[in-house]
Symmetry: C2
Subunit: 218 residues, 2 copies
């Protein structure tokens, strides 16, 4: 069975809500409460989640919902984590150890979720060889040589816009098949490579339309 990409995209949020319910010792959740716990979608449409959406998305997994009883929290969580590949360790390299890269290296949220930063690269002579959060920063020029020796699943790009595409190209040449890009560029990667953008400016710009509209009504 093929699960649509847009459903896959929502599953991490479902898994997070389920983990939080599991932490609270909850066994069962209804689609209605599930939707409420998901809160606002926070995307362009930014609608509240609906119980119907939750039921429809989870129907791809067939056997979880029981009419009138709701979903088994632990079972559904384990299944989603397995589908998403969250029950294993993923190895990541960060390229660009400026202020943003430092914040990424220090972020406490990756390791508990199975995402481990194993390499950090920068091109600044002041940074190369420095120890940051248990890593020795390597020269970005040595990226390809290093990744021949060390398996890295995911590349995190935290360099300035001007050099981001060339870093992405180098990661792709090294066989990295997933890229989390913080640089404000429209990056190009082959079809076989996944890319996601973390771009606060685009997120801000998608809100000002609504601020402007309501300001006009004031």
């Amino acid at each position: 069975m093929t699960i649509p990409d847009l459903v896959i995209d929502r599953l991490p949020q479902y898994a997070r809500v389920l983990a939080s319910l599991d932490d609270q010792g909850r066994d069962v959740v209804s689609s209605q409460e599930f939707a409420e716990l998901l809160g606002r979608r926070g995307d362009g449409a930014d609608r509240p989640w609906s119980a119907a959406q939750v039921r429809k998305d989870l129907s791809y997994f067939g056997r979880f919902g029981k009419q009138g009883r709701g979903y088994n929290v632990r079972k559904l969580m384990d299944e989603l984590r397995s589908i998403l590949g969250l029950n294993r360790q993923w190895r990541m390299a960060v390229v660009g150890i400026g202020r943003l890269g430092h914040a990424i290296l220090g972020y406490q949220g990756f390791t508990p979720q199975g995402f481990r930063i194993v390499e950090g690269f920068d091109s600044s002579p002041h940074l190369i060889g420095q120890h940051v959060d248990g890593l020795t920063i390597r020269n970005t020029a040595d990226l390809e040589a290093t990744l021949k020796e060390t398996r890295v699943d995911i590349g995190i790009v935290a360099v300035p816009a001007e050099t981001a595409q060339s870093v992405i190209d180098a990661l792709v040449r090294c066989g990295v098949r997933a890229i989390l890009n913080y640089a404000p560029i429209s990056a190009r990667v082959p079809k076989s490579v996944q890319i996601r953008h973390v771009d606060p400016v685009l997120a801000l710009q998608s809100m000002t339309y609504y601020l402007k509209a309501s300001a006009t009504l004031d």
Copy 2:
């Protein structure tokens, strides 16, 4: 005319491509080249952009495309920037000045786009009163009093997950109508408030499904 929310959500990316073309002195762009410059969508579906999508989205603005000639870069950019409210200054407050908050305060990408950070808050006694990037960090406890005196359009939430919802609630009480949330929570806000999430873990988790799938095929 009402522009669908999902189209609004894509306009910032269109405006960015147009600004880059304008910088290069380009006058006209075809929908085909436009789609190529947009690269990969980087969302769940992560398809390449299509010329048809570009034409359809821009058709809401009616009078730009000329059959066989393409879009006037400067005119379309100005119109999109005006629609999105990007031709003015927006005032932002950052709550939480840890490593992430520091990276946000130091980010060079906000100001050129009209987003100005005017206040920074933290609850740590070590930080309160410190000067960081030209701001004097205030006590988060004084958030509501401060925002009564100072207009802030957008709140940036960079506190840990545990305190994020209460910070969001305080910002909403102060009349802030747009929130950029970096905390890994399913935040709740009233309908009248826009919220966008910046969450690298969710982005990573939406890629591992594909890594896992292709790893299995190896």
